[in-house]
Symmetry: C2
Subunit: 193 residues, 2 copies
């Protein structure tokens, strides 16, 4: 793609949101942080040039859990055992809530980034992956939200700059794990063969 500049740092952040998200019945809940989400999405983030992977949870013991994992892999035995994990997990930053997240990325990029999410239901704002990709490679800052559990609440989704299209494969089955969805979205936004 002509607008790609592989040598140039892109301004792309990801956030894995644990509150507010929906449960199976559409009720608003806070979900638990899992070790594997952290590892898988950090590794994909490192692969595809993400600047920071924000882990959003208002629960103090959950944030403490993340900090313990990070400490192990960044400073403890894990850092010596597997340098690749250290590189990936060094992108992770813990954050209390969505408003703090928006303030952090706005301060970092000195302007509010374009904030998008994927939805299993439909796109909004006319976004395609190719459009977002072109703007990322043109130097614009982007924040992509991923909801855990059964997805971000309508309240969060309504407050975004738009929704990227659902990840369609072959047919109407649309139930990827958040780990798989994050990898595919990142590949579509910044990957190359």
């Amino acid at each position: 793609m002509s607008q790609e500049r592989p040598e140039r740092k892109i301004k792309l952040d990801l956030a894995l949101v644990h509150y507010p998200v929906c449960n199976k019945n559409g009720e608003t809940i806070g979900s638990a942080v899992t070790n594997l989400d952290l590892h898988d999405i950090a590794r994909a983030s490192k692969t595809f040039g993400v600047d920071t992977l924000y882990i959003v949870t208002p629960f103090e013991e959950q944030r403490h859990f993340v900090e313990e994992i990070l400490d192990h892999w960044l400073h403890g035995y894990g850092a010596r055992y597997n340098i690749n994990r250290k590189e990936a997990l060094s992108l992770v930053q813990v954050c209390e809530d969505i408003q703090t997240l928006y303030a952090l990325v706005t301060e970092k990029w000195r302007q509010r980034p374009t904030i998008l999410a994927t939805s299993a239901k439909s796109a909004s704002g006319g976004w395609t992956y190719e459009m977002a990709r072109q703007r990322i490679f043109a130097g614009d800052s982007f924040l992509i939200l991923f909801g855990t559990g059964w997805g971000l609440t309508a309240e969060v989704l309504d407050d975004l700059d738009g929704l990227l299209p659902p990840i369609n494969g072959r047919g109407d089955y649309n139930h990827l794990s958040v780990r798989s969805a994050a990898a595919v979205v990142l590949d579509r936004l910044t990957g190359r063969e």
Copy 2:
């Protein structure tokens, strides 16, 4: 793409190989099947039109473990709790070893499919994702192998029809989880925006 026929069933299988694979030191080992690999890769397989997800392990207790998981989600409480998981896990078939796997897919498609894997190192046989995608949509049968642990052994890789290119993102970090890699490869082979 002109050769896509969304209404037509594609002949694409995946295999998640637990033996023979490498450990961190390059030694040949058998890895343990994990519940999450099964769920994540089955969901991605269902999304992207895979016919069968083969779980390859020579260890009887591991095959029994997979059968127990399948029984829970296909026939037990899980089948009523989450119909989406049932749909995904119904693609899973357990298999003893690579030779049995090759025999099964050859029998199923009445010819030996093109057998490929991805490698974190390099491509071989001149394969690109776009080439494989076009042949899949032209009706050719394909089997894609994914190695757990630190990847498939050289012995397995040397016996394939070729290697798909490493999943490149931004830079030279190339350490996706097998779950993320499978999702990205499937999206490149059969996904569409």
